[in-house]
C-alpha cells in the first residue's frame, strides 16, 4: 500500500513510501504508521485520509493497490 504524506507529517515520514503489513481500514493503518514512528501519533490523530480526490473514513475498505494520502489539518486561521 502506497502512502503519501504532506506538510508536518514529512517531519516523521518520507513524502512517499510503501507500508508492509495488513491494514483493512484507516484505524489499522494508523496503528501501522505509529509502529513505524511513534512520534507521529499525536499528529496522525488530527489527520484525515484520502484516496485520489475523495476523503475516506474508517468504513472504507483499504485495497492493496490504493495510494493513501494523509492530510494534516489545513492552514486554518
Amino acid at each position: 500500500m502506497k502512502i503519501h504524506v504532506y506538510a508536518g507529517l514529512k517531519d516523521y515520514f518520507e513524502p512517499e513510501f510503501e507500508v508492509e503489513g495488513e491494514a483493512r481500514n484507516t484505524d489499522e493503518l494508523k496503528t501501522l504508521l505509529v509502529a513505524i514512528n511513534g512520534k507521529a501519533e499525536a499528529m496522525l490523530s488530527s489527520c484525515r485520509f484520502a484516496v485520489e480526490e475523495g476523503f475516506i473514513d474508517n468504513a472504507y475498505k483499504l485495497k492493496s493497490h490504493d495510494t493513501i494520502v494523509i492530510i494534516p489539518p489545513s492552514s486554518g486561521g
Binding site: 502506497k2 503519501h4 504532506y6 506538510a7 508536518g8 514529512k10 517531519d11 512517499e16 488530527s46 489527520c47 484525515r48 484520502a50 485520489e52 480526490e53 475523495g54 476523503f55 495510494t67 494520502v69 492530510i71 494534516p72 489539518p73 489545513s74 492552514s75 486554518g76 486561521g77
Partner: protein, 173 residues
C-alpha cells in the same frame, strides 16, 4: 496512472500552476482578477487578499512556503465556490491560492465576489475564505529569520469539535 505522477504536490512543477482551478505556483495577478470581476449587474465587488506577515506570534518570519494536495484542493475550492453561488446570488466568485514560496507582504490567497448588493458580496467572500482556510488541503510552512522552519499554525477546530471534519467559523459565531 502511478502515484508518483498523479500525487505530486503542485509546488514541484510550473505546469502544475492550475491558475484556472484555484491553485497557482506563480504570483497571483490580483489586479487582473479584480479587473475581470466587474459585471454590469453587480453593484458590489469584495476582494480579500491573505498576505504574508513579517511575524508569527512575535517571531520574525522571512517567508512562507505553501504546499497543497493538488487534485483534492482544486476540487474543494471549486466546490466551495459553487456552494457560495448556491447560497447567494453572485455574478462573480473566484479564488486563487498560492503554492510554493511567498515573500513577506505578498499575496497567498485571493477571493473575489460580486453581487447586486454589498451584504451578499461580503458574506459570500467571508464564507469562501473561511472554508478554504479550514478545509482545503493546503499547508503553510513558516520560515523564520533565524533559519528554522515550522509546518503548522494550522486549523485546530477538531480539538473543540472532536471531529477532524467539523470546523468552527468565526463569521458564524
Amino acid at each position: 496512472m502511478t502515484p508518483s505522477s498523479s500525487f505530486r504536490p503542485v509546488v514541484e512543477g510550473r505546469e502544475a500552476a492550475g491558475v484556472a482551478r484555484g491553485l497557482s505556483a506563480e504570483p497571483i495577478d490580483m489586479a487582473g482578477m479584480l479587473a475581470g470581476a466587474h459585471h454590469p449587474g453587480a453593484g458590489a465587488v469584495v476582494l480579500f487578499s491573505g498576505e504574508v506577515r513579517d511575524n508569527n506570534r512575535g517571531r520574525p518570519v522571512s517567508f512562507l512556503e505553501y504546499e497543497a494536495y493538488r487534485p483534492l484542493a482544486e476540487k474543494m475550492i471549486g466546490e466551495i465556490l459553487a456552494e457560495a453561488k448556491s447560497r447567494w446570488v453572485l455574478q462573480t466568485a473566484v479564488a486563487q491560492h498560492r503554492t510554493g514560496i511567498v515573500a513577506v507582504g505578498d499575496t497567498a490567497v485571493v477571493v473575489i465576489t460580486a453581487s447586486a448588493h454589498r451584504g451578499e458580496a461580503y458574506a459570500a467572500n467571508r464564507y469562501i475564505i473561511d472554508r478554504i482556510k479550514h478545509e482545503a488541503p493546503i499547508w503553510k510552512c513558516e520560515h523564520y529569520a533565524d533559519g528554522t522552519h515550522e509546518w503548522g499554525n494550522n486549523c485546530n477546530c477538531h480539538a473543540v469539535t472532536g471531529d477532524v471534519s467539523k470546523h468552527i467559523y468565526e463569521s458564524e459565531g
